[in-house]
Assembly symmetry: C2
Homo-oligomer: 373 residues x 2
């Protein structure tokens, strides 16, 4: 299944901060076929560093998508049955308008002149895309981590447009610890002299700062156990006691590699804008309480968390579940056992598949029944 990222340009998008972006590009991919009733569409939302390439093989570089184990023929999000859409988020750097895009007013990259964006803004751009694709109501919106925040925002912002949502390993708002980890990444980037207040597009990007930020991220995505299983205290070469400061432990070289790899595909300013959007996300804000925020939702919910995920711990999913139950919403919840930490939403395929497949099938049946009444 070779796929090509597509681009659609919308005339404008009004943002939470009051600024209107005009025009706005949105990069997206689709998998499977939209049925005649247009009732089988699923939007998959990517996490912080993901992009529109969720599944299939990229025509551009031959790579599989970030959720290729979950989205495809016969998989959890079965593209033989469903029409799956994934878009790069607003503020990103993989096709959708972001700080690296050209500012029409100056003909130069926005840089830090890019307006502040929110999770709600990301979702509003996705809504434009869904409208553009002729879909009035999504069968489901699903995603892990920041993708999960988007699913929740969808349920609250567009209650009529989404039949079900599956937030995975996510939260209704960041804790102080989550904000702190993001802030370390931002400080690391902004401390790199190559960052130059965000005006680095004509010169070298802040590679070193971005790589360190990514290293911190990777630690938080794994668990103590998964790191132990993957690396333990293994040394790359047998170090005698004349050891030095080159990477010697396997975990060191892994992190350095992942950090350096990241800088080739990610824009440092997007790192700043998207982490800030995550930190500011607070679903209850403006509603008084989380329960009140869910008051107008009409979707069914399947909430999933993982035992070893210490970045988005189970208690944060339980807050969502509890608020939904308090409003008598249709919510299923499952904490899956895993040693993979936060990465589990990408790696624990089997049990997620079982849950998602059943949930989607029953939602699809319900919609069919409702339509035939």
């Amino acid at each position: 299944m070779v796929v090509e990222t597509q681009l659609v340009t919308f005339p404008s998008l009004a943002l939470d901060c009051g600024v209107t972006l005009a025009p706005v590009d949105c990069a997206y991919e689709t998998y499977g076929t939209l049925n005649e009733a247009r009732s089988n569409a699923i939007l998959v939302c990517h996490a912080f560093s993901g992009d529109a390439h969720a599944a299939g093989i990229s025509k551009e570089d031959g790579r599989p998508g970030w959720w290729s184990d979950m989205v495809g023929p016969g998989l959890a999000f079965d593209t033989d049955k469903y029409f799956v859409v994934c878009a790069n988020v607003l503020g990103g750097c993989r096709g959708t308008t972001g700080p690296g895009s050209t500012n029409p007013a100056t003909k130069a990259p926005f840089g830090m002149g890019f307006p502040v964006v929110t999770i709600g803004d990301m979702v509003r751009l996705q809504k434009l895309l869904i409208d553009h694709l002729g879909i009035a109501r999504l069968l489901c919106v699903s995603g892990g981590s920041m993708g999960g925040m988007q699913t929740l925002a969808w349920a609250v912002l567009f209650p009529e447009a989404v039949a079900s949502v599956i937030p995975i390993a996510s939260t209704s708002r960041h804790s102080a610890q989550q904000i702190a980890f993001n802030e370390v990444g931002r400080q690391s980037i902004m401390s790199d002299p190559d960052w130059r207040e965000g005006n680095y597009y004509s010169g070298p990007p802040p590679k070193r700062g971005l790589a360190v930020a990514r290293m911190v991220g990777h630690i938080t995505y794994m668990s103590d156990d998964s790191m132990k299983e993957k690396f333990g205290r293994r040394l790359r070469q047998r170090a005698e006691l004349g050891y030095d400061f080159s990477a010697e432990f396997e975990v060191e070289s892994y992190l350095r590699y992942r950090g350096s790899q990241f800088v080739d595909r990610f824009d440092a300013n997007s790192y700043l804008y998207i982490t800030k959007a995550m930190d500011y996300f607070d679903l209850a804000s403006g509603h008084g309480s989380l329960g009140a925020a869910f008051e107008k939702t009409r979707a069914r919910f399947l909430v999933i968390s993982f035992t070893s995920d210490w970045l988005y711990p189970t208690y944060q999913s339980l807050e969502i579940v509890s608020a939904l139950r308090g409003r008598n919403r249709d919510v299923a919840y499952c904490e899956l056992p895993s040693t993979y930490g936060h990465d589990a939403f990408l790696l624990e395929v089997e049990e997620q598949t079982e849950l998602v497949r059943g949930f989607l099938a029953s939602t699809f049946r319900n919609i069919g029944r409702a339509a035939s009444l």
Copy 2:
């Protein structure tokens, strides 16, 4: 109790790496009075960023010591009864010889020409100090975090010279996750152009890299709960949606402040050397197993961990306890409830005091009985 840091210079110290440092300075403080039998001496070992100033008021800058709540008249380490010693570690930057010290061979700072040091080397320098003070056998060696590693190394390297040890919130070796966090700090420093391969002593130090490294450290020292209690999602000023990238959440400004404060008192190269010593520490190494390492120990052990400490989790203390029990060693263990995370060893005074006071008193009585036989 005004105290002054003292300095003693030893002719030389042979290191694990094969290099001999000559001469070696050791900065230390003492509190209380050594009794005639020289049987009431306690060595307190500091954690990663600590120094010799454990207690009392510094004559130099009027500050209390890092363990002032635990060391003093009537406190856990009661200086009315005991003679307490604390020394800055080898490789440090607070008086003891380290990478910022002058290399006698070049008359310039060592920088990265400083030999690699180990926790064992730190302990051997402390042994020179204890000999210098005329103490044949310590009543106790105690410390938290990296200080705890030193207490374990004491018990193994100098079994005749220590009657008891109290490792707190510590480990017999770093996990992959602990190494990973340290590696992020090192990379942050070494990525700062001002680091200049460690040759920054005649110019500006790598402040930005060191500050980011410290920010990561602070997150790991606290718990999700303690951060929530201390900061929550509170904003410093009411941010409207026109928010920007200045520090807005209280947790952000706290971390930035602690990071910037740290660079004024800590040397970046010491950060590199000391974290590497921690990462390489493996008490079982060369013995075959942790139990075998404890084979020749003669000390009594009191091992303490804290429920919310995710940096040095309880399971690491239990590994120590289990290995000691397997060799039929005299070991008491207590996991104390706390929400403070790793910082608990500095903050949970009351319960630690009770444990430490009783343990020291009974050890002291035992020694008296043994001496009178």
